[in-house]
C-alpha cells in the first residue's frame, strides 16, 4: 500500500498545502496514522480510498489550525523543465488552470484534485466524499467543461493584455 499510494498522497497533499515543508510533515503523519489504523483495524476494502481519506482529514485538520494559500514556490514548480518556448506557453496555461481551479467551490476543487493529482477512480472518490460513483462521474465531466471555459477566458484575457 505504501509503495502504491505514496506518490499520489504526496501530490495530493502538496497541491492542497502548497508547501513542501508542510507536505513532508503531513505525509509522514498520514502514513503513521495509516500504519496505526492498519495494524489495529480490519483491512480496508478500498485501500486507496481509505488512505486518501486519512490524507484528506489530515489536511483538513492542518487547515483548521492555520489557513494557507498555495505558495509561490509551488506555482513556480509548475513551470519547471520545459523548453523556453514550451515553458512560456505551459506556464501561462498552468497559471490559468491554477486560477480556474482556485475559482471552483471547495468540494468541486476537491473532486478534481482527487481525480487528477491523486489519480483516483470515480468509485474511489465517491468512497472518500460519500457520493455515488455516478454522481462523481457526472460531476467530473461537468467540471472539466467548466474548467475549460474558465481557462479559455483566462487565456484570452492574458492575450488581450499581453
Amino acid at each position: 500500500m505504501y509503495e502504491a499510494y505514496f506518490d499520489d498522497v504526496y501530490r495530493y497533499v502538496l497541491y492542497k498545502t502548497g508547501s513542501k515543508w508542510d507536505t513532508d510533515d503531513l505525509v509522514s503523519e498520514v502514513f503513521h496514522k495509516a500504519y496505526r489504523s492498519y495494524s489495529s483495524a480490519k483491512q480496508p476494502e478500498n485501500a486507496k480510498a481509505w488512505v486518501m481519506t486519512i490524507a484528506r482529514h489530515t489536511v483538513i485538520d492542518h487547515y483548521r489550525k492555520r489557513k494557507e494559500t498555495v505558495s509561490a514556490d509551488i506555482l513556480e514548480s509548475f513551470a519547471q523543465d520545459f523548453s523556453v518556448e514550451e515553458k512560456v506557453e505551459h506556464a501561462v496555461e498552468v497559471d490559468c488552470l491554477h486560477k480556474a481551479l482556485a475559482y471552483l467551490p471547495d468540494e468541486d476543487r476537491e473532486v478534481m484534485t482527487l481525480r487528477y493529482f491523486a489519480e483516483m477512480k470515480h468509485r474511489e472518490i465517491g468512497a472518500v466524499l460519500g457520493k455515488q460513483e455516478d454522481t462523481v462521474k457526472t460531476r467530473v465531466s461537468r467540471l472539466l467543461r467548466k474548467l475549460g471555459g474558465l481557462v479559455k477566458g483566462c487565456l484570452e484575457g492574458k492575450n488581450a493584455h499581453g
Binding site: E29, S40, F117, V151
Partner: protein, 669 residues
C-alpha cells in the same frame, strides 16, 4: 480549451508536483522497522518531537495563598491553553473573577469567560490593568493612559502623550484611585526613536502632581504595601527589583522581565531567559529559551512553572536553567562567547496573576514569526498530584495535544505520536492500586475517527513512579482492546482482542429508518456496559436528479436485543438545509452524545454541536448560551465525565469551553 487539452495540462500540472523521494525512502525504512502493538503507538512520539524534550516537572505550584509556603514549593496542578488568538496579536492580559481581558492588535478589546467571548470595545489598546473590584480597566494606547468603566462603557483619558516625544504607558493599579505608570521620553533627533528616559511615576489623582519613583519600566505594585517591583536595566541585563516606595530601599529578585505580583502579595510571576548569553544582533531573540517563573516577593526562592523545549532543528541539550545570566536582547553578547542559534520553541509574555492568586495567565506563541498566540493558564498549588490526578492530567494533555505537558508527566519520552485520526475523544479512570510496590492507575481510553464508522476502547494500566517532583508515568500495559468499525455496505464489526463479531449486518437497519435515496453510517460510538451503539446515519444528497437533501439521523442500537430507536433527526440547522455529521462523541457513561454538525448551505468552516441526553431524550445546542457573536465554528473536543469540552471560533480566535451536560451550563476549562 477543449477537454483533451485540459486533461493534458492537468497531467502536466500533476507531474510538476514533485514527490520527495528522500522522504519516501526514509519513511519506508521506518515502517519496516516498526513492529508494535497499539499501546506502543501511544507511548511513541514522532521522531521529530523527540528532539524537543525537556523535563518539565509537574512541580507544582502552590497553593498560592497558603501561609509559610515559598515559591519553590509550588506545584503546577494543571496547564490549560484555552484561547488561541490571531498571529502575534495579543498584547496583554488582565483578569478578574474568571473574566479575562485581552487587547488584540487591530481587533479591539476582548473579554473571555464561561459564556464564551466577545469584543468589549473596538479601541486598540496596548496595556491593561484591572482594578481590584473588577470595574475599571486602566489602559494605554498610543502613549496615552486612561480608564475604561466596564459597566458604563465610559472612557477617560488621564495622561495624554504627544505621540512624538512623550509617551505614557504600562499603567498598573496600586490602590483605589492610584496607579503607577511609565513615562517614556524619546529623542526626536534620533531616527531609531531611542529612548532618552524611561521612568516610573505614581498617579495620585488629578489634584496632585505625579511622583517620580524610579528609573525603569514595567511597574508591578505589591498589594497591601507601599512597594512595587519593576524592571531595571543593569550591566548584566534586565533585573527585577523590589523597591520600597517611601524609603527607596531596593533588592534584586531575579533577572527577567514583565513582573506581576499576586493579589495576596506573596509571589511574583515573570518571564526569564533560561539560556545565558544570547548571541548578538539578529540572533538574540532566536537564541532565547524563555519560561514563566514564580518567585517569592521576598526573593528567597524561585522556580520555573512552564517548559520550553528547544526548537526541533536543534538536538542539543538545554543549558542549565535558573541561576544563569540573562541578557537583554539589546545588549551585545561578549565577544568570543559562543551561543546557540536555536532557542526555545515558545515565547512567553505578560504573565498575570488571577484575582484569587491561584493561577497565572500568560501569552504563549511559537517562536516562528507570525505564529498564533495562545492564552494559557497555569493552576498552582502546594499539593503534589496523586497517581490518579497525574494520569488524569496526562490523559487530558494527550487529548488536547499538549505534547510538552504530556511529556513532562512521563519518566522517559519515547517515540510518541499523536495523530489527528483516529484520535482520543474521552477517557475514564477505572481504578488505582499498588502492584509490586508500585502505584498503578487503570484507564479506559476511547478513540474515534472523524466522519468514519470507527470507535475504539482500550483498557490500559499505567504504572507510576514517585520522584522528587511528584509522580510520573513509567510504563503501561494494554489490558483490553475493543474496536468497532464499519464497512461501506453498512456492516459493523466488533473486534475484541483479536476475536471478531458482527454487530450489524448490511440490510439489518429497519427500512423505516432509511431514506428513499442513498445513505451511509458516517460515525458511531460504543458503550459495551450498556449494549449501546450510537450511530449517525448520513442521508446523502441525491445529485443524480432526485430531490433528497442531506440530513442526519441519530440512531440507538441495542447490541444485545438488536433493536433500534431513532433518537434525533436533523434536516436543517436554523434555516440551512443539507445537514451533515462529522463526528459523534459519547460521554463515558453513555448518557450523552455530542454531534458535530454542518450544513452544505452554510460557509465551509461553519459547524455546530448538538448534545443529546439519552435519558431525558432532549437535544441542546450549547452555542445558544454563548455570548459570542459572529460564530464561525463550534466543534467538539472531548468528554471529561459528563462535561463536554469544545471550541468556539469567532473573530479569527478559538476558545476552549466546557458544557456541563447535566446542569446545562457553560464554563471555562
Amino acid at each position: 480549451m477543449d477537454e483533451q487539452k485540459l486533461e493534458k495540462t492537468l497531467a502536466a500540472m500533476k507531474e510538476r508536483l514533485t514527490v520527495n523521494t528522500a522522504l519516501k525512502d526514509e519513511l519506508r525504512t521506518v515502517f519496516r522497522r516498526k513492529r508494535r502493538r497499539a499501546l506502543a503507538a501511544k507511548w511513541s512520539l514522532a521522531a521529530a518531537a523527540a528532539a524537543f524534550l525537556s523535563v518539565f516537572v509537574l512541580n507544582g505550584l502552590p497553593g498560592v495563598g497558603l501561609p509559610g509556603v515559598n515559591a519553590a514549593a509550588l506545584r503546577v496542578q494543571n496547564q490549560v491553553s484555552f484561547v488561541e488568538i490571531g498571529s502575534g496579536s495579543a498584547l496583554n492580559v488582565a483578569e478578574h473573577d474568571g473574566k479575562v481581558y485581552v487587547p488584540v492588535a487591530g481587533e479591539g478589546l476582548f473579554v473571555y469567560g464561561g459564556a464564551g467571548f466577545h469584543r468589549l470595545a473596538d479601541r486598540e489598546l496596548s496595556d491593561l490593568s484591572i482594578s481590584r473590584d473588577g470595574r475599571q480597566l486602566l489602559w494605554a494606547a498610543g502613549g496615552t493612559v486612561g480608564t475604561y468603566d466596564i459597566q458604563s462603557g465610559v472612557w477617560r483619558e488621564l495622561l495624554k502623550g504627544d505621540g512624538r516625544e512623550v509617551f505614557y504607558e504600562q499603567p498598573a493599579w496600586s490602590e483605589e484611585g492610584r496607579f503607577l505608570y511609565v513615562r517614556k521620553l524619546l529623542d526626536p533627533g534620533n531616527r531609531e526613536e531611542r529612548v532618552a528616559e524611561s521612568a516610573i511615576y505614581e498617579w495620585r489623582g488629578e489634584a496632585e502632581p505625579p511622583r517620580k519613583l524610579a528609573e525603569g519600566r514595567s511597574p508591578a505594585p505589591v498589594p497591601g504595601r507601599s512597594a512595587f517591583l519593576y524592571e531595571k536595566a543593569g550591566e548584566q541585563g534586565i533585573h527585577i527589583i523590589f523597591r520600597e516606595t517611601d524609603s527607596g530601599e531596593e533588592r534584586e529578585i531575579d533577572r527577567g522581565r514583565s513582573p506581576s505580583v499576586s493579589p495576596d502579595g506573596r509571589y511574583v510571576a515573570y518571564v526569564k531567559n533560561d539560556r545565558p548569553g544570547p548571541p548578538a544582533g539578529g540572533q538574540a531573540e532566536a537564541g532565547r529559551v524563555e519560561n514563566v517563573w514564580v518567585a517569592d516577593t521576598e526573593g528567597e526562592t524561585r522556580r520555573p512553572v512552564t517548559s520550553n523545549p528547544l526548537r526541533p532543528e536543534e538536538d542539543g541539550p538545554l543549558d542549565p536553567p535558573a541561576s544563569q545570566d540573562e541578557r537583554p536582547a539589546q545588549t551585545p553578547a561578549e565577544e568570543g562567547r559562543s551561543a546557540p542559534e536555536q532557542g526555545g520553541l515558545y515565547r512567553y509574555a505578560s504573565p498575570t496573576w488571577s484575582s484569587d492568586s491561584h493561577s497565572v495567565f500568560a501569552l504563549r506563541s511559537l517562536s516562528d514569526e507570525g505564529a498564533k498566540v495562545s492564552l494559557i493558564r497555569l493552576d498552582l498549588s502546594t499539593r503534589t498530584l496523586t497517581p490518579v490526578e497525574t494520569v488524569r492530567a496526562f490523559e487530558q494533555a494527550v487529548i488536547q495535544r499538549d505534547l510538552d505537558f504530556a511529556r513532562s508527566l512521563l519518566m522517559e519520552q519515547p517515540d510518541f505520536f499523536i495523530g489527528s485520526n483516529p484520535h482520543r475523544v474521552s477517557y475514564t479512570i477505572l481504578g488505582s492500586g499498588t502492584a509490586n510496590g508500585r502505584p498503578y492507575v487503570d484507564v479506559e481510553e476511547y478513540w474515534s475517527y472523524t466522519a468514519n464508522p470507527y470507535y475504539g476502547i482500550q483498557k490500559v494500566r499505567y504504572e507510576l513512579e514517585a520522584t522528587d517532583w511528584g509522580y510520573v508515568l513509567n510504563g503501561g500495559e494494554l489490558l483490553d482492546d475493543v474496536l468497532v468499525t464499519g464497512t461501506e455496505d453498512g456492516r459493523l464489526t466488533l473486534e475484541r482482542n483479536g476475536q471478531e463479531e458482527v454487530l450489524l449486518d448490511p440490510g439489518e437497519l429497519p427500512r423505516e429508518l432509511l431514506p428513499p435515496g442513498p445513505s451511509r453510517i458516517s460515525s458511531l460510538a460504543y458503550v459495551p456496559s450498556r449494549n449501546l451503539l450510537l450511530l449517525t446515519l448520513q442521508v446523502l444528497q441525491d445529485e443524480t436528479g432526485g430531490k433528497q437533501q442531506a440530513a442526519v439521523k441519530l440512531i440507538r442500537y441495542d447490541t444485545k436485543e438488536r433493536t433500534f430507536e431513532l433518537l434525533e433527526e436533523r434536516a436543517k440547522l436554523g434555516e440551512a438545509a443539507n445537514v451533515g455529521a462529522e463526528a459523534i462523541l459519547v460521554s463515558p457513561d453513555g448518557r450523552f452524545a455530542a454531534l458535530d454538525l454542518f450544513s452544505d448551505d452554510e460557509p465551509a468552516e461553519r459547524s455546530h454541536i448538538l448534545v443529546y441526553d439519552l435519558e431525558e431524550k432532549r437535544a441542546d445546542l450549547p452555542e445558544t448560551e454563548l455570548t459570542a457573536v459572529g460564530l464561525e465554528a463550534v466543534r467538539t473536543h472531548y468528554w471529561n465525565g459528563t462535561n463536554l469540552h469544545f471550541t468556539v471560533k469567532s473573530h479569527g480566535q478559538t476558545m476552549h469551553l466546557v458544557w456541563d451536560a447535566v446542569r446545562r451550563t457553560l464554563s471555562t476549562p
